[in-house]
Symmetry: C3
Subunit: 151 residues, 3 copies
Amino acid sequence: MAKLMEDEVFRAFTTYAAVVIVKMLLMAPLTAFYRFSRGAFANEEDVATKSAEERKKQLRTHPDVERVRRCHQNDLENIVPFVVLGLLYALTGPELSAALLHFRLFAGSRIFHTVSYVCPLPQPCRALSWMLGMLTTLSMAYRVLSSVLVL
Amino acid sequence: MAKLMEDEVFRAFTTYAAVVIVKMLLMAPLTAFYRFSRGAFANEEDVATKSAEERKKQLRTHPDVERVRRCHQNDLENIVPFVVLGLLYALTGPELSAALLHFRLFAGSRIFHTVSYVCPLPQPCRALSWMLGMLTTLSMAYRVLSSVLVL
Amino acid sequence: MAKLMEDEVFRAFTTYAAVVIVKMLLMAPLTAFYRFSRGAFANEEDVATKSAEERKKQLRTHPDVERVRRCHQNDLENIVPFVVLGLLYALTGPELSAALLHFRLFAGSRIFHTVSYVCPLPQPCRALSWMLGMLTTLSMAYRVLSSVLVL
């Protein structure tokens, strides 16, 4: 195994990064599930085996599908920055306890964000979980930039 | 060169990650090509030099442009997780043959996915290539989490 | 701190990657700002506290919001590949001056791209800044693939 993986902080980063990325990946099957159960497709070839009438009816957007897609998009916009900044952050050698706090807060906030978005829970559930995730990421960015700055 | 790059698995990861990321990047010029050839733009400043009538007509969506954009979006949703999990996977020190199998399957599935989406080929070409890519990524995630778990 | 961070090129990469990722992250609050100031929301729970009439009126898209969202999407499509290829590029051990040139050109082009998109500036400001960023990324991809190729 690579030397990096002997570092406890890097192992913690690896774990949480894998968890949130897998969570993000699973939004795709969820979208597929909603597309099939709601009968709302985006491509003609997806409804090619159906009758002409059905075909026309099912080439549409559906609010439930759009909701899952917005949630997926929000994951892309937040989880990818977390993974990048988390990797760099882990390499700056933070305390394990501080790193775990960041990683746990972020992972928890994103799981709660998904639940808030897909169910949906009343606001400000979604807004607060989104904000917590963003603040965690910005805090890691601050640590990265303040310890390694080469402009 | 950094020590990491002396590892054969990491070099293989680097190669395939660069290939799929460049493939994803090239979706942008492809979108631009469709926007110009179909005359379908999203921004007013993009049609500013045209006549008033043309301007109004070309500020629209076009099915071919939307298709390429969905393909690009699908790349973002699948290739980025592959790169992140592939990096962590390469650091857990897998067998070179196992790693190459994962990387090749993924890269092949995504190239075939793009062809299936843009042409388009009849289903289930696109669905199967998407699923193969996702299973490869999940298999790497499993390996990462089972060898490095610090919660 | 990890050994990697002792490498000047890697520190430079870390700095510029953090800067462009934070820039990308800040598109989200900017979108929120436009959503509130323009009164254009995407989810029913976001307007739940408003009167029935207001609720209906504010569940809509607004050109200014869509513009910021397209800019954010373009960031995702370009900054994420830069970060991935930049990381691999930094590990191939380039000259510090060459690396800095790539990183600075990219960061500058993306900041100018955002200004061009959100203001908006007349074309070809946005097109040229986008193209410069893409060429920088492709140049790094070329260096990565030509120095580390394991197919």
